[in-house]
Subunit: 377 residues, 2 copies
DNA sequence: TTGTAGGCGTTATCAG
DNA sequence: CTGATAACGCCTACAA
């Protein structure tokens, strides 16, 4: 029969090959102690002979859990493909044939980003790495998924895992609505709330406070502007604490923050040029994220403004690229790896008991001021 | 009944809620065209109300494919955790409780690696990123797994995916033996062979040739030593071509290469110190990988040897850390992202037809000489 | 210690 | 267009 040859071998095939029942096959893999050494050997040998690997799908179905932890990010492609041609995910994508020929020349690899730190690793990547690392220590595979907006991908991923961590996004609330309520969830960088989801986030206020204190107290700057839109929890918190901290020092923030976002259109460059033309550049630019700060650095450089002599610039997050910019970026670093690990531990149920009087975790990590040169130090 | 409340909702629950059969529920999600708009709406509404998400396990079981692509690395923990306490994966790990308190202080995060490029991103990470990126474009989730030696983790992962890409390892051959033969596999950086696995690799010889030519022809170095053990396909190929290229220039390689490996004990530092003591340091050190080269840089620096004035050093791979070292590392960069993407496309069946007369893909990518300062430029 | 049988949640087939 | 019903491959009482 062509069956056994072509099909993926199953417990039945192995059982037959080994001359035992399917239960023994199953036991051989999952309950070694409940079976005699002899039959176990026989089963394993048969399995190897047949090239048998238990189907995770079937197992997942049978015992109600997949054993996998998931990590989902929205619009990851958009975020990453920035410098290139952005094409949205398309499952039905035409085959992009591998270039023919013996050796595929560099020019066909479109790998122009020579380890470009502006594109990788970013915040998401470091958190993801922590998540993956912890999962590996826990001996669990990780599923990574990405999808946007109205996409069903979050729900789809939710159906594959025992627990899911999710990066922030404007469309997150909508996505959460169509997620099964039964699966444990960790939300990164999302405002605390009454929902049943765990949180892992950073103490934005504390970080911003330390930064402003440094700029105002140590450097004596008296005209500190904010760069970045109030979009998302992190950025908003940073902006609010920027204002609060300035107020604490008896300073008034600029009327309107400088517009900027990492994705999509903004007016950062024009606004900066405009301010320069009017001789009204702030003494310091506190940016919502490192990516904003790096853009500001570029813009200022294009305008011939010297950093930090004329204008100081600071970031937030502490991504690697900030170490490489000129001048090196003063920033507030998040313990991204630790945050990713925490999420994984929470989902795996290895994060200890939920704190007294709380229904879920809300892990707030302290960031750390990273003083480099762009602040004037 | 407590059933419907606690359990994860299934098609049956939705069907009941919507007053249709389970087939209609399934169709509502998978075959929208084969069902009336009205019932479809009704089903979707019911599903949302119940917080229903289809179980990927059940679907995978039913139609024989999971829709996931996998990427497996051996001993990833060991490779990564280098500077820290290395603890092997242990699924039964004791809970590491999240630190208590309002805000988790930095000191408890053990996140000392301030975006340390020596630890991340490495070769694996960039390939992995390419793999993930391509999967996202294809609309497919990725599962990442890691495990060592006699571990069943490769086979386990194989049971979860429709296709699996695997990083090289000394234990790879053994692991492949207990893998189901039915699932498509891509091997990174492994010697071509008769097995049914696809290959994605780099043209080590071409890269090394260009590098040696530069060192010998452009710089006129006449005493070029190799650093690194002949372990694994890449390193061995590099070593072999190092010798061949030198021979082509009429030079003789040193008797024995300088011992070094990224993991495990080696004698690189002692050997270097020894050579220095004897006044026999080579003029140039061609290292098997960037990580070897970075170690060599450290060692030479400790010995007070100036690079590149006294000894030139080169790497291979082109990881980000090489851009940050002092002096910046001359290296041969692999198009890692492109390699990761290629692997994903092959597994997804979107890499076009297998070349004439071949039974599987063997994609060999051209690397690119990255001239920085450590060679003397 | 080993075998038998039922169930896990979907999809697909085939009637209606 | 909709509804029964039979796989799909594995796990696990329960029985032998």
């Amino acid at each position: 029969m062509t069956d056994a040859a072509s099909r993926r071998p199953t417990v039945y095939d192995v059982a037959q090959e080994a001359g035992v029942s399917i239960a023994s096959v199953s036991f051989a893999f999952r309950r070694p102690e409940r079976i005699s050494e002899a039959t176990r050997e026989r089963v394993l040998a048969a399995a190897r002979r047949l090239g048998y690997a238990p189907s995770a799908a079937a197992r997942g179905l049978a015992n109600g859990r997949t054993g996998i932890l998931g990590l989902h990010a929205f619009d990851l492609m958009l975020e990453r493909a920035e410098p290139r041609d952005v094409s949205p995910p398309r499952p039905d994508a035409r085959p992009t044939p591998l270039p023919a020929g013996d050796i595929i020349p560099w020019s066909l690899t479109d790998d122009e980003t020579l380890a470009d730190p502006r594109a990788f690793p970013l915040y998401v990547d470091e958190v993801q790495r922590g998540f993956a690392l912890e999962c590996w220590m826990l001996g669990r595979p990780v599923v990574l998924s990405s999808g946007s907006d109205s996409d069903v991908s979050v729900a789809d991923t939710a159906g594959r895992v025992d627990g899911l961590a999710i990066f922030p996004s404007p469309v997150l609330p909508a996505a959460l609505l169509r997620m099964p309520a039964t699966i444990p969830t960790v939300l990164f960088s999302v405002a605390p709330g009454d929902d049943p989801h765990h949180r892992v986030r950073v103490d934005n206020a504390g970080g911003m406070r330390g930064l402003i204190d440094h700029l105002v107290h140590d450097h004596g700057y008296d005209d500190v502007a904010f760069v970045g839109r109030q979009e998302g929890f992190d950025n908003t918190q940073r902006f609010l604490e920027y204002r609060a901290s300035l107020a604490r020092w008896g300073q008034r923030p600029r009327e309107e923050p400088i517009d900027g976002t990492v994705r999509g259109p903004h007016r950062m460059v024009e606004q900066l040029a405009d301010l320069q033309a009017r001789g009204a550049l702030p003494r310091a630019l506190v940016c919502a994220t490192d990516q904003h700060a790096l853009m500001a650095l570029d813009a200022l450089s294009a305008l011939g403004v010297r950093v930090p002599e004329q204008v100081a610039v600071t970031g937030f997050d502490g991504i690697l690229a900030g170490r490489l910019s000129v001048p090196a970026l003063t920033s507030v670093r998040q313990p991204m790896e630790a945050m990713g690990r925490a999420a994984a531990r929470i989902l795996a149920g290895k994060a200890g008991p939920v704190p007294e009087g709380q229904s879920r975790f809300d892990a707030v990590f302290a960031p750390r001021l990273l003083i480099r040169h762009s602040c004037g130090c």
